[in-house]
Amino acid sequence: MGRVIAVAQHKGGTGKTTTCISLGASLCDMGKSVLIVDLDPQASLTLSMGINPLEVERSVHEVLVDPNVTVKSTIVTRPTICFSVVPSHVDLAMAESELAGRIGRERALQKKLAPVKDDYDYILIDCPPTLGVLVVNALTAADSVLIPIQCEPLTLYGVKHLLQVINLIREDVNPNLSIEGVLRTMFDRRTKLSQEVSESISQTFGDLVFSTIIYRHIKFAEGPIHELPINFYASKSVGAEEYRNLAKELVARESEKAR
C-alpha cells in the first residue's frame, strides 16, 4: 500500500514544490514508484515538469469537483520524468467555493486517491501556501505531512498555523495523520541567522527534524528552464545529492517505524 505524504507549509517560497520534485525523483532513483499531485492553483510543479496546465484535458480540479473523474484519468507521464504527475490548473482556485456546502468536502481527495494508492510506493502532494479546503483535503488524504521550513524566523509563524490545522484534522477526520518530518530548507551558509534558526528548529522539533539539510543552491531555480528534476539536469550537483540523502533518510525512518 502506497504512502501518501503531504508536503505542506503555510508560508510560500519555502521549497515545497522543489522538495516534491527532487524528493520524488530521488525516490524513483531508489527504485520506488512515485505519483505527485500538484494541488497548488499556481501549478508551479506542473509547469516545472513541462506540462502546460491550459492544455491538459483534466486536472486535479476535475478530480475534486467532478464525481465522475478519476485520478487515473488525469495522470500525465513523460519519458523524461521518472514519476507520474496529476497536473494542476488555475481553475483549482475556485475549488474553495465549488466544494463549499458539499457534504464530506474534506474527503474528496482521499476518496479519489484510494483506488490508486496501491499502484505507487509514494504519493506526494504539493500543497498550496494556504490553510483552506485544498490543504484540508491533502491532510485528510495523507498518512503523514512533511514540513519544509526555510531557515528564516518568519517561516516559524507559518509552521504554528499549520500545526494548529494538523491537530484539528487529527481530532476530526484523520486521527492517523503523523508528521513525517521537518526539513530545513534554503539554509544560507553565509548568514548566522540561518544557523540560529536551524538550531532552534532542532531544539523545538527534536527527532522530527531530518538530519539532511537542503542548502540554498541556484541550481534549483534552473529546474523550470530544463523542465526536469535536478537529478536529471544536474545529477552531480550538491543539491541533487542532498535530496538523495533525504530520500534515503525518509525510507530508513519508515523501515525503523515498521519494526
Partner: protein
C-alpha cells in the same frame, strides 16, 4: 543616553513556545459515544444523499409527464376543432362515380370521435397519474424536511399537496360538467 538593545536571539522567539505546545498536544481519543455519533452522522448523510437523488428523479418524471399531458391536450383541441369544422361544412355535390360526401364525412367524423374519446381517456389517466406523482413528491419533500428538523417548511409542502388535490378535483368536476 546610551540605549542598549536587549539581546534577543531566535531561540527567544515566543512562537517557538507556541510550536512546542502544539507539538505536545496529543490527538484527542474519540470516546465510544462520539464514534457511534460519527458513524450515525455518516449514515444520515448517505441517506440524505439517496433521498435527494430520488427527489431529483421524481421531479424529472413529473416534468416529463406534464409535457406529455400538454401534448395530448393540444392534440385533443386540434381534433375537436377539426370535428367542429367538419360538422359545420356544407355537403359539396360530387360526380356520380365518386362516393357521396356525406358518407366520407360520416366516416371521418366517426374516426375523429373515436380518437377524441381515446384521447379523453388517456387525458384522464395522465391527470390522475400526474396528480398522484405530484402528491407523492410533495409528501416526500415534506418528510425529508421534517426529518431534517424543518417542520415549518414541511407543513408548507403538505399544504401544497392538499391544494393540488383540491385543484385537480375542481378540474375533474368542470370537465364532467362540460361533457
Amino acid at each position: 543616553m546610551n540605549l542598549k538593545k536587549p539581546a534577543k536571539g531566535v531561540a527567544d522567539l515566543n512562537i517557538l513556545k507556541d510550536i512546542r505546545g502544539l507539538l505536545s498536544t496529543p490527538p484527542q481519543e474519540k470516546t465510544g459515544d462520539s464514534k457511534e455519533q460519527a458513524s450515525e452522522a455518516t449514515e444520515a448523510q448517505a441517506e440524505l444523499t439517496k433521498l435527494r437523488a430520488q427527489l431529483k428523479a421524481l421531479e424529472e418524471q413529473a416534468k416529463a409527464q406534464k409535457a406529455e399531458l400538454a401534448k395530448l391536450k393540444a392534440e385533443n383541441s386540434e381534433l375537436a376543432a377539426k370535428l367542429k369544422t367538419l360538422i359545420e361544412a356544407k355537403p359539396v355535390p360530387l360526380p356520380a362515380a365518386k362516393e357521396p360526401v356525406n358518407t366520407v364525412n360520416s366516416r371521418e367524423i366517426e374516426q375523429l370521435e373515436a380518437r377524441i374519446e381515446e384521447l379523453g381517456e388517456s387525458l384522464v389517466k395522465m391527470d390522475e397519474l400526474l396528480r398522484m406523482k405530484a402528491q407523492e413528491l410533495l409528501n416526500r419533500i415534506a418528510r425529508v424536511f421534517n426529518e431534517a428538523g424543518q417542520s415549518d417548511v414541511s407543513i408548507e409542502f403538505r399544504k401544497g399537496a392538499r391544494d393540488l388535490e383540491l385543484a385537480e378535483n375542481m378540474a375533474h368536476f368542470l370537465r364532467v360538467l362540460l361533457d
